[in-house]
């Protein structure tokens, strides 16, 4: 009995910065999942360079078969492997570290990690050996080697085990009373991500098991049904990202500037709207498919989906407003934007989070809602506007938020100082600026009708002529330059993460006391997480006026973009 108690006691360490109890077995699982995520990011980034310099017709470096191979490699490693491995780390963090609880079944966690690793290696091997040139979507009847589908199934089973462990951790933490009241908001966001992950993975099982059997020649598979169920996996997997990303925004707001939650009820209700309705955004991919009637399309992509958009706009207000209130409580009260000027812009955790919010909200959100409108979708479907949109949501939003939190994970979980600290300070600007520029280039190409997933838009050797407006060449250059800057930003992040984890200096108490280089300001001096004093009521009374101004700028941009798109539609689709 004593040895059991000792074992349990030895499983934990106390974080010197946050005071949270950290289960070492959960910590190890966080570490390995985060490290593999970065390796997948590297594979995806190398493929991205090949893609950018092929789509940019002035270079056009890859032959057709390698272009589609790289596109498959890029899509899978960025949208599935990098993101989901990192999300597994987030789920372990949100369920054990934030709740100061234990991981209930560490061996099962390692089994899940093993399955995900085997699946990831199998899929990448099939793609690189040319046995799965089927792109991320692997639409039937395009057929890959059966091992490709088996790899995805193994990966999904591993991820489902981790999600189950997340739920088990919540049950254990509640039973062992490691927290009182409701779970913290960051964990609630993790719960939202976990629920969407269950929805995603069940759709994955429902489509990839039959597709595996189809690839063996055992059954028939209808392409329409494949598309319907596949997007329950393909798009929902990106909605796990949204929930995880928003949770990270709340976490980093607290860690970097002592941001407050304006209203727990509102933020939690917004997460519940995600649980109910964000997954239905999958129907956007089927807006031009003839099998579905307008009732199904409009209910899923408009009425239901707008409830999730409402949730995003709630978070898009409450996170910056919470940051503003936190900054004002710390004494930055002058004018409308003193809180923003005095923010720690040299802390990559803060700058990465702030850029993630701006890029996701202003660019990703506005373009997404517009593309999701059935009429406008007709002029945008399968054009470069679509990758333009999702590169500012999944990459400029989610990946940048994951990078930002890594600058806190390295010292708090890996207990290492961040290597190449000066480079780390500019990395979020490089990556965020590059992605935003690249997306602008893509979106404008799409407006001129340039198709996505196309090797050669000059249609060389084709039996017909297709000419695009000459300005497309300018926007290809914008895309290429932005993509190059983003790739440099991604490679800088990978170099920083790898050097910190494997060669970085371990943090000592003196480092924390003396403000050593490589430690974000929120780690050196954690801002207050709960405020008290005479000015608290006054600051809350004054409200978040600066954020309100930003909200109206956002609204004006939204209205303008939406109106311009309807105007473009009226030029193309003349009635009467």
């Amino acid at each position: 009995m004593n040895s059991l108690v000792n074992n349990l006691a030895n499983r934990f360490r106390t974080c010197p910065v946050t005071g949270l109890k950290v289960d070492k077995s959960a910590e190890n699982l966080i570490k390995v999942n985060a490290v593999v995520a970065v390796v997948c990011l590297l594979i995806g980034a190398i493929a991205a360079i090949g893609l950018v310099f092929t789509r940019w017709q002035a270079f056009h470096i890859l032959p057709a078969d390698w272009y589609y191979r790289f596109l498959t490699l890029h899509g899978l490693n960025m949208l599935i492997f990098f993101i989901i491995f990192f999300e597994m780390a987030v789920l372990y963090f949100a369920s054990t570290v934030v709740l100061s609880s234990r991981q209930p079944a560490p061996k099962l966690g390692w089994l899940a990690f093993g399955l995900m690793m085997v699946g990831m290696v199998m899929v990448n091997a099939m793609v690189l050996t040319g046995k799965a040139d089927v792109l991320f979507t692997s639409y039937v009847p395009l057929k890959a080697d059966p091992l490709y589908y088996l790899g995805i199934i193994l990966f999904a089973v591993g991820a489902l085990i981790v999600v189950s462990l997340f739920f088990a951790s919540l049950v254990v933490a509640k039973r062992e009373k490691t927290y009182t009241g409701s779970i913290p908001l960051v964990t609630f966001g993790g719960l939202t991500a976990a629920i969407i992950a269950v929805i995603t993975l069940l759709h994955g099982a429902a489509i990839y098991i039959p597709t595996f059997l189809w690839s063996l020649g055992l059954i028939e598979l209808d392409p329409g049904i494949y598309r319907l169920i596949f997007w329950g996996l393909g798009h929902c997997s990106q909605q796990i990202n949204v929930a995880a990303m928003v949770s990270i925004w709340y976490l980093l707001a607290g860690l970097t500037v002592g941001g407050v939650v304006l209203n727990e009820k509102i933020s939690r209700a917004a997460f519940v709207l995600y649980i109910g309705f964000i997954s239905m955004a999958s129907a956007h991919h089927l807006l031009v498919d003839p099998e579905f009637g307008p009732g199904w399309k409009i209910w899923n992509t408009s009425y239901a989906m707008y409830l999730a958009v409402l949730a995003s706009m709630v978070h898009g207000f409450t996170v910056p407003a919470g940051i503003e209130i936190g900054q004002r409580l710390r004494g930055h009260t002058n004018g409308l934007f003193d809180w923003l000027r005095k923010a720690p812009w040299g802390d990559p955790g803060f700058s990465g989070m702030a850029l993630s919010i701006v890029i996701f909200g202003f660019m990703g959100g506005i373009t997404g809602v517009t593309l999701g409108t059935e009429q406008i979708n007709m002029i945008a479907h399968n054009t470069m506007r679509i990758p333009g949109h999702f590169h500012v949501t999944v990459v400029g939003g989610t990946a940048l938020a994951f990078m930002a939190v890594t600058y806190y994970v390295l010292p708090l979980i890996f207990q290492k100082r961040v290597s190449f600290w000066k480079l780390a300070k500019i990395q979020p600007y490089l990556f965020g600026g590059g992605i935003a520029t690249m997306a602008v280039g893509m979106i404008f190409q799409g407006i001129f009708g340039v198709p996505r997933r196309h090797w050669d838009i000059t249609f060389k050797n084709a039996p017909f002529n297709v000419e695009f407006h000459p300005s497309v060449e300018i926007f290809q250059a914008v895309m290429g330059i932005g993509g190059t800057i983003a790739a440099i930003g991604a490679l800088a992040f990978i170099a920083i993460a790898v050097a910190s984890v494997f060669f970085g200096k371990t943090i000592t108490a003196d480092d924390l006391k003396n403000g050593a280089s490589g430690l974000p300001q929120g780690v050196l001096k954690l801002p207050p997480q709960v405020y008290s004093g005479a000015n608290v009521a006054a600051v809350h009374e004054a409200g978040a006026k600066g954020t309100m101004v930003l909200v109206f700028i956002f609204l004006a941009a939204f209205v303008l973009y939406f109106f311009v798109n309807w105007k473009i539609l009226s030029f193309i689709w003349k009635i009467g």
């Binding site: 009241g181 908001l185 169920i229 707001a253 239905m280 999958s282 579905f292 997480q529």
Partner: protein, 54 residues
């Protein structure tokens, strides 16, 4: 990020009690998505009339 007060269960509002039940939220998410997107979508496909191809 914020302090959560512990309250006796009788004082906890209904909304909070519902939000405190992860498996209820899981069921909600599954029912809505499978009901409106997946099953309704399958019904649409399966009820599609046969194309009168020559």
């Amino acid at each position: 990020m914020s302090e959560v007060n512990s309250k006796s269960s009788s004082n906890v509002p209904l909304g909070q009690r519902l939000f405190d039940r992860p498996f209820l939220l899981l069921g909600f998410g599954l029912v809505v998505m499978f009901g409106f997107y997946t099953i309704w979508g399958m019904v649409e496909i399966l009820n599609m009339p046969q194309s009168p191809l020559p």
